[in-house]
Amino acid sequence: MLRDTSTLTGRLMKQILRSPDTIITVAITPIAIFLLFRYVFGGAIETGGANYTNYLLPGILLITIASSVAYTALRIFNDTSKGITARLGTMPISRSAVLWSHVLTSLVSNAVTAVLVVGIAFAMGFRPEASVLDWLAALGVLTLFTLALTWMSVIPGLTATTMEGAGAFSYPLIFLPFLSSAFAPTESMPGPVRWFAENQPVTSVVETLRALFEGRPAGDEIWVALAWIAGVGGLCYVLALRTYRRKV
């Protein structure tokens, strides 16, 4: 299985290396939002004295991941509509290697984009106070978050009937951080919006990353975040495998 997965991941990495513009395209919108909030709206948002670049980065990273996994859905859709998924399904290879190769490719390309975004954040005044352990914890949370959203992207990738349909699931995911504490404290929001913002998964992930970057204890927030990620990710994993078995 490992050998099949690495052969198939090699194929997908070649695809990405030959069109590196996809990595840039993925990062452009989140970086534009980053700049917009930092230098246009940021002055009017009261976050209680914190460095606003530090405040923004977690949400921007989540938006980057959400727009990047759309490309995983597109790659799977492309393979499926061209008959490549069917061809691999009739070959004597590991059944799970086909999907895992797409998931690993997503992790690698997300890592590259994340490094790009964090680099830009430093240039904009991101000043973390995280210890090595905090950095590792943040990396772990981001990896698990990417894994969960990637397994989610497998489902539309396999079932969509059009290219646009395959990527559409990512729009609400990209929008979700705006309805969280990613850009402004939830205390400033009216009742129902505030309730939604405080109880949706993005807020707990954002708060966890923010605490880790600033070297503060993440408290219970990290467990809430991990529970959301494990729940959503686990459900998507099971559904993705079921969809794959039904289709192939």
Partner: protein, 257 residues
């Protein structure tokens, strides 16, 4: 149970499959001998692809059995996958990779020793040597289809499925693919081919089965099938001249004057 060595290459008995209320296969039975080229002829939606998908382990039948090289598709899909290769309705090539890379990818996945040598051989066999290091996206429809068929031959599977191999190709590319398939016949590979075109079945197949309304309504060699149908009738039909004929007639009269 027959031993795998003596079993027919493909043995399909009473295959049934429905999608919701739509009963596509209503008991399909046929067998294909080793080294035979067998054409499943039928119109769009007759169930040709459904039959191929069941035989290639992509779909489970509702009832009936399909054995490939003596292995049951439901009970032993792994053994079936080792014996077969599917060339689906669309050329399943990775367009970002070159022709050579596509072939080497399949060779690695099939654990064929010397992927590079295998690729070089197949590229030459399919007239793709000059295009070997170009991305498949730049290939013509006929070249993509040839590469697609070449990918199915990596590792020399016993049985090859060709699902509508020439649908969507221009006449020139169609003849190219026919030549390729005829070449395979001499190598002893068993081929199950589906097509909507009687001419294609006539050109390529040793035996033809007609799939209609979810069952096989006729099965035999071309000459056997011909005896089952009414003899050719001669009819006289008044024929309108084509524009070309009119043009030539006018030119002709002018020059005669």
């Amino acid at each position: 149970m027959p031993s795998p060595a003596s079993a027919p290459a493909i043995d399909v008995v009473g295959l049934r499959k429905s999608f919701g209320d739509n009963e596509v296969l209503k008991g399909v039975t046929f067998d294909v001998g080793r080294g035979e080229i067998f054409a499943l002829l039928g119109s769009n939606g007759a169930g040709k692809t459904t039959t191929v998908n069941i035989c290639s382990t992509l779909l489970r039948p509702d009832a009936g059995t399909a054995s490939l090289s003596g292995h049951d598709v439901v009970a032993r899909p792994e053994e079936v996958r080792r014996a077969i290769s599917l060339t689906g309705q669309f050329a399943a090539v990775d367009e970002v990779l070159t022709g050579r890379e596509n072939l080497e990818l399949i060779a690695r996945l099939r654990r064929v020793p010397g992927p590079r040598t295998v690729a070089t051989g197949l590229l030459a066999q399919f007239g793709l040597t000059d295009a070997a290091d170009r991305r498949a996206a730049t290939y013509s429809g006929g070249m993509k289809r040839r590469l697609d068929i070449a990918m199915s031959l990596v590792g020399s599977p016993e049985i090859i499925f060709l699902d509508e191999p020439t649908t969507g190709l221009d006449p020139e590319a169609r003849i190219e693919v026919w030549r390729t398939v005829k070449g395979l016949a001499s190598s002893g590979t068993t081929i199950l081919l589906t097509t909507q075109y009687l001419e294609e079945a006539e050109q390529l197949a040793d035996r033809i089965a007609i799939l209609h309304g979810g069952t096989i309504i006729a099965n035999g060699t071309l000459s056997e099938l011909k005896t089952m149908f009414p003899p050719a009738k001669v009819e006289y039909v008044e024929k309108q001249p084509t524009l070309e004929e009119i043009f030539l007639a006018i030119i002709g009269t002018k020059e005669a004057n």
